[in-house]
């Protein structure tokens, strides 16, 4: 059992990386869509520059989480994709359109062709995708998806949709705070204001999420208000408060740490509230798990993979850090 939980923790870690790194990408798209004012062009180009080299590579975290779920919790994998087909397909189309629109727009900018349509597409897809990914998670947590097999509309309820809105707010908050570190005045002040806006929206959506959970996801509601889940909710609130204070004091690097913590705690609060269920309320980690030999094998592969991956990442960061110091 402990090994199964270890795999589940790996999945959660991968999802956390996706939400923080990929979430910031989505959020960048949101601010691209909402760019207003005389310096809208400057805002967009700073967003594009910040995302530039790594665009779309962040999906590797999501792919890893999916593959791990498939290998280690096959029953849950099958259930999720059967019940959540609609929101997941929409999110997928969003991911494809977003990446493509971004690439095409970069290209169009390079050769000086008009690209307003592509920009709108990029922005719209950046909003739609996290909403539906969030709604899929919400539907999974609500228990309706697990209880009524074949129901494809489990996500069309107040709780899942609120989770979708919360997801897009968190993305926007992450991106706004990250962008304060990528810019100088006066653009930086703009993104600081946006961060306040996103912060407020996140707080409202978070509170709404807990409220709608009482009706829409009773198991999650109990989990969020008791024990470890409640602790994680408090931690998320504390990190959020910290982020607000840092933004007020213009302590941007610290604000970044706080929002990352805030987003991670929100995700973990969901995971903690749902534990030990993978698909609420039909499959627990133990029930969905693959045979022990697969779980052990997967962990061995994951450890070996990390043993190669971590030095490589270290090398990458060392190269780019040292070149930053030189220039």
């Amino acid at each position: 059992m402990i090994l199964e939980v270890a795999v589940a923790a790996l999945v959660l870690a991968s999802l956390t990386a996706y939400v923080v790194l990929g979430g910031a990408d989505f959020g960048g798209g949101v601010w691209d869509a909402l760019a207003r004012g005389s310096d809208a062009g400057a805002q967009r180009s700073v967003i594009a520059k910040a995302m530039g080299p790594v665009w779309e590579a962040n999906h590797v975290w999501l792919i890893f989480a999916i593959v791990a779920t498939w290998t280690a919790f096959p029953a849950a994998f099958a259930a999720m994709f059967t019940h959540l087909a609609v929101p997941v397909t929409i999110a997928l189309v969003g991911i494809v359109l977003r990446g493509s629109a971004f690439a095409l727009r970069e290209k169009a900018v390079e050769v000086g062709r008009p690209h307003a349509g592509l920009g709108h597409l990029f922005g719209a897809a950046s909003i739609v995708t996290p909403v539906f990914l969030g709604a899929a998670v919400g539907a999974l947590a609500s228990g309706t998806a697990g209880r009524t097999p074949g129901a494809s509309d489990a996500w069309l309820a107040p709780f899942p949709l609120t989770v979708g809105v919360l997801a897009v707010c968190l993305c926007a908050l992450l991106a706004a705070v990250f962008l304060t570190l990528e810019t100088r005045e006066p653009l930086r002040e703009r993104f600081r204001r946006r961060a306040f806006g996103a912060w407020g929206a996140t707080a409202v959506a978070g509170a709404a999420g807990i409220l709608t959970a009482r009706q829409g996801a009773p198991l999650i509601f109990t989990g969020l208000t008791h024990g470890a889940g409640a602790g994680l909710v408090l931690a998320a609130v504390a990190a959020g408060a910290g982020a607000l204070i840092c933004l007020l004091a213009r302590r941007y690097p610290l604000a970044r740490v706080c929002v990352i913590a805030q987003v991670a705690f929100v995700l973990w609060a969901w995971a903690g509230a749902q534990y030990p269920y993978v698909v609420v309320p039909t499959l627990t980690i133990a029930q969905a798990a693959a045979p022990p030999v697969t779980i052990t094998g997967f962990l061995v592969v994951a450890l070996l993979g990390l043993a190669i991956l971590i030095p490589s990442l270290w090398y990458l960061f060392r190269i780019f850090k040292s070149s930053e110091q030189n220039s």
Binding site: P53, I63, T82, V96, A302, F320
Partner: protein
Amino acid sequence: MAFHIIFAVYGIGLPLLMVIAEALWLKTEDRDYLDMARRWARATGVLFAIGAVSGTVIAFELGLLWPEFMKLAGPVIGMPFSMEGFAFFVEAIFLAVYLYAWDKVNPKAHWLSGIAVAISSVLSGIFVVDANSWMNSPRGLVLLDGTQSSVHPLLAMLNPFASTEIPHMVLAAYIAVGFSVAAIYAFSLLRTRAALGLARKAFVVSFAVAAWLSPVQLLSGDFSARAVGALQPEKLAAMESLFHTRSCAPEIIAGIPDVKTQTVRYGLPIPCGLSFLLKFNPNAVVEGLDAFAPPDRPNPLVVHLSFQLMLWCGFFFVFLAVWAVVVRLRRGALVSSRGLLAGTVAAGMLSLIAIEAGWFVTEVGRQPWVAYRLIRTAQAMTPATSVVMPSLVVFSLIYLFLAALVIWLLLGLASAAHPAQGEGTFGGHRDP
């Protein structure tokens, strides 16, 4: 899937060309090679970025369309996919070093990170093909009443088809990329006599990779066919259009199999050829399609024609390679032979067609099974039947869209490579 395979092939092949070009630059200090390496690296970068998207699509698609199959297969064959995930990640890291750190690390370290990209991309390919070879010869999984009763992921990874299918696919990837890249340069050399020195050199490098590997591929194909004969006799029977079990089985060249009359029309049979090729004995008995129950027979029309197509493409590539050797022996410069250049332009398209044909042979030839003699395709579909058609339509549209995007982006790179040419000249060679 058919789109993804072409795309994956470039992901495997281009890094190889890129590190060869850079090695030549380090050795000769000829700036053209540096230029070449940078250009191919940029194409690799574009493909990698789309690859992340396309990979996400595949991960979702498998879950949406085949949840039941995935549920059964996950524990036993998820392992290579997890490894593929790590290989992809390592590739991303070193590709970032390669693309953005030309002037930040010393040349040797830069080249080595290119090697790391090439190795991890080929490893990705190996892991994925390993999963496919498992579908052809599933091991390490016993099903009782539709649930797993015994699971051995390691046995599954070491399935008997892996040792022939993996080299065949990797070679195919290198050859296809070599020829299709060479085709682009050959085309521009044919159109403008005074083409850039870069085009000549790039043609020689990419052509050489494909030409050297082509005869090896023929050998690998021979091994593969014998493995199919031993492990999936009905697939072999379909490939060879052998309707009836017999000794001294003929090898049929070309021809259209007719299922109704159980004969092959317009074919040229070589007496006892198949028996000899498979078992080195002209009188050996080879099982025909009639040895298997009708519902278990694959469609010989599609499989036989695809197989013949792949085979003849392969012979054509070897012919080109021999031709190139003759040209070298007699006159020296490969690029001065217009016939060879024209042949390469054709090979650029044919190599991609050969890959698709090979994919059809292995996939259609395995029907009606999704995992050979273990899970039928019909059993593997999602129970939410209402989502199948819309999903298929959505996925097809996504792939068409991505294909168009890749072509368009690579066209941009290709036309940047030949400023004298107009846009849109090289489209055909990239078209999946």
